[in-house]
Symmetry: C2
Subunit: 201 residues, 2 copies
């Protein structure tokens, strides 16, 4: 039985969002499942000395243009959010709690709803009220998710996940690991497919 | 008559080298010519606060792997040089002098020879003797190129070229500008081709 694809992403990463619209389909084609693993780029960037794309001089402007072109070429609905980037630990914690309380499938449904809310409807997903409302929209009790995402055990879980991700070499979003082979970026889906098809690259 | 493709690169950039093996063919397919324009990433990185890939923690290791995978997938001969990255102003100045003295076609022939020497034969192209020897290998007088690349006018020309490139938004290698549309990276050749085919993206 082939191993799962570990799919690391930050909820404020446009390329992570683009990847989220394609990864399940790609995995299914090659008989793989996907572990959706939210991480916090803010923590990761501190370790690598990197900065969020929009804040890098010159490169930031180009990146905004590249995101829009990439969305158009792949026919992915995308509207650049007014607040970008933003903190995502609330959404990430909510996702981890939903996975524990309602299972992986529901957590993935939630993740897709969060990405959509942020990158197509411009909703500020750093606000806890937005996060609980998105959860409610897929049938999860808003009070329960609010309590769960603020629990110490979920906070510890996310912290441990981010640390483990960094220990595995994750430094950006999206970042995929398949059978130990790392792939960074939505623009490496072509190389990922070669690897999935041939077992090597 | 369609405009030329401005192709910016640093001689120590593996992705710039990969691009150099494909760009003329792609341009020809769409009736375009290519302006080969050497730049100095060291100067550019100072302006943007960026660092050479191999020096970035975690990301550096991944990048080495990505370069090798990319070369294999595109069947481009590539051997990671022992000294990497390295200063390239000598090679860039020599190229500018060759263009002035022998024309653009000869300068491109020289650029391809420099890339090959560095990325397939592991030659340290930061050494002036290596640069003049590569020039001699394509029939250019070694003494003349050595004198030319050290002239004040050529040094000024390269400095002005790098400044103009930065003013146009160039922040990495390879970087292509076509009819005002910027493309960064060998992995944007697919988007570049869409633009060349349709006139928009």
């Amino acid at each position: 039985m082939a191993g799962s694809i570990d799919f690391y992403f930050d909820f404020s990463s446009p390329y992570g969002y683009f990847a989220s619209t394609r990864i399940d389909e790609l995995a299914r084609k090659y008989g793989r499942s996907v572990n959706w693993r939210p991480v916090l780029l803010g923590v990761v960037f501190k370790a690598t000395g990197m900065a969020p794309l929009p804040l890098i001089p010159i490169k930031g402007d180009y990146s905004m243009r590249d995101m829009e072109r990439t969305a158009r070429l792949h026919r992915i609905p995308y509207a650049r959010p007014a607040v970008f980037p933003l903190p995502t630990q609330g959404a990430a914690r909510a996702m981890l709690w939903i996975r524990e309380a309602h299972g992986a499938a529901k957590a993935i449904e939630f993740a897709k709803a969060v990405f959509r809310a942020y990158f197509t409807d411009g909703i500020n997903i750093s606000e806890p009220a937005a996060v609980t409302q998105i959860a409610a929209g897929i049938g999860i009790d808003a009070v329960a998710v609010n309590e769960g995402m603020n629990s110490a055990s979920i906070k510890d879980l996310l912290r441990a996940d981010v640390e483990q991700a960094m220990a595995r070499g994750v430094f950006g979003s999206p970042f995929m690991i398949i059978d130990g082979e790392p792939f960074w970026g939505f623009d490496r889906f072509d190389q990922m497919e070669v690897f999935l098809a041939n077992g090597r690259i």
